[in-house]
């Protein structure tokens, strides 16, 4: 399980496996603890900004106050299928709430590896050997399989070797 958690963290699982592990996280306290520890280790290693100490508590509280619109009482007497569907819908709602809660807060971005800004690069002119690199590189572009050799058009004419923004 721990190995799967680590794979999930690194984004190495396909959708189905990820869903299984996420599901397991819902019922396995030990896995949840391991997940938290891994996240902490990862944040510490990346020196990411940590969320405030009571973030989880505050988030859970806010989530608890969200109206549950997908599972009205009357539905409980309906067929099992309905129950399953409303359960799925609730999970979707949780996911959506979580998405909405996380997405627009820019200060959370520092905890996300992708948003971890690379240092702003120097802009430099194309290397004088740019054509050598491009020729050597284009041959491995998967686009050749969809487009024939069109991507090879990306070579540099001598006049074009100048700085670009």
């Amino acid at each position: 399980m721990k190995e799967r958690l680590s794979e999930l963290m690194d984004g190495e699982l396909d959708d189905r496996s990820a869903a299984e592990v996420i599901k397991a996280l819902g019922s396995n306290r030990e896995a949840v603890r391991a997940w938290r520890t891994y996240q902490l280790i990862s944040d510490a290693m990346r020196e990411s900004r940590l969320l405030s100490a009571d973030f989880t508590a505050r988030f859970s509280e806010r989530l608890a106050h969200e109206p549950t619109v997908f599972a009205p009482r009357a539905m409980q007497t309906e067929s099992r299928r309905w129950l399953a569907m409303s359960a799925a819908a609730s999970v979707a709602a949780v996911a959506l709430v979580a998405w909405v809660a996380f997405a627009p807060q820019p200060e959370l971005k520092s905890a996300a590896p992708v948003a971890q800004a690379e240092p702003k690069p120097n802009l430099v002119p194309l290397p004088s050997a740019a054509n050598d690199y491009l020729l050597a590189h284009q041959g491995f572009s998967p686009r050749l399989s969809l487009q024939g050799m069109a991507p090879y058009v990306r070579t540099v004419s001598e006049q074009a070797v100048e700085p670009r923004k």
Partner: protein, 316 residues
């Protein structure tokens, strides 16, 4: 991103039927383009555009059971011709009277195989777009929207009848065009082998053979791989006339990023750290362990830079 990935994974798991119903047709169209690329003979005029720069070329492809040959002639600016056969790519540069030759066996050519097309859906949301008429052909658009900011988006327009790709637009995260390749005129069929011969007698020209061969680059690697980009090949080659270099290629199935590693003493000029770009291509150069590392890829600057910054040497 981790959280987002988690949520995306969760949402995808909840709605796989919807996602797949939406993209099955689109995947079929990608396969159709793939087949057309391998079966058709054609000749056409082709415009490459990035920012303010645009360049016209002629592309001719001769498909034949004994081996396909394809030729690209750049019509604007410095004349260049590139001829690709089954196992060789030759670039003719009349300005410097040089032929650059890159040989490879089909075996090491990590093409986008039809069975890998399905794998693209891990990194892109693939759907059908509008129909559009291009160069006289009714085309179907296939839209690849990236699932993160590490890759570009694409709009590919394929002829409804044959599947031939007539136009490809690369889009950045804001949905703005980074570059575009379009046929403005295209004739299918009627191609002879003569039409794909290099036009100029280049016998006296200097030949620069890349002598590329798969090899292990001992000690070199990435401290952290870029999500979705897998190593597809590792080789030794020559760049230019004499410079020996290692090349490692990473790909997510649609975009590829090459890492070139050259001993610094082989170069007269010092490594100049920084980023340069040309259309969808970014090039990032830095120095690692007395080597010049040059990362070249048709990927957003952040991806190329992250791979470049992850390159490390550990004494084997």
């Amino acid at each position: 991103m981790r959280l987002k990935q988690l949520l995306v994974a969760g949402l995808c798991a909840l709605g796989p039927a919807v996602v797949h119903a939406q993209s099955a047709d689109a995947l079929g169209w990608l396969r159709k383009m793939h087949n057309a690329t391998h079966k058709l003979s054609y000749t056409g005029t082709f415009v490459y555009q990035n920012g303010v720069r645009s360049e016209t070329s002629r592309i001719t492809r001769f498909a034949d059971a004994s081996g396909d040959v394809e030729k690209l002639e750049v019509m604007d600016g410095m004349p260049r011709e590139i001829v690709r056969t089954k196992d060789t790519v030759s670039c003719y540069l009349p300005g410097s009277r040089v032929v650059k030759v890159d040989r490879r066996t089909e075996r090491d050519f990590p093409a986008l195989l039809p069975e890998r097309i399905t794998g693209l859906a891990r990194h892109y949301d693939i759907s059908l777009g509008e129909t559009h008429r291009i160069a006289g052909y009714d085309c179907q658009a296939v839209v690849l929207t990236p699932r993160d900011n590490l890759r570009y988006g694409y709009r590919l327009y394929a002829d409804v009848t044959t599947g031939m790709l007539l136009k490809a637009v690369t889009l950045d995260a804001k949905g703005e065009q980074v570059e575009q390749m379009t046929f403005t005129q295209l004739t299918m069929g009627g191609v002879t082998r003569d039409m794909v011969q290099p036009r100029r007698g280049a016998r006296s020209w200097r030949v620069e053979d890349a002598a590329a061969a798969p090899a292990q680059l001992a000690g070199w690697g990435l401290s952290k791989e870029l999500p979705g980009f897998e190593k597809i090949i590792e080789l030794k080659r020559r760049l230019g006339e004499t410079r020996s270099a290692g090349q490692v290629v990473y790909s997510d199935g649609m975009a590829a990023v090459s890492v070139f590693i050259e001993p610094l003493e082989a170069r007269s000029e010092p490594a100049r750290t920084g980023l340069s770009s040309m259309g969808a291509i970014h090039i990032y150069t830095r120095e690692v362990a007395n080597h010049r590392v040059t990362v070249v890829g048709e990927a957003p600057a952040v991806s190329v830079q992250r791979i470049a910054n992850a390159v490390e040497y550990r004494k084997p």
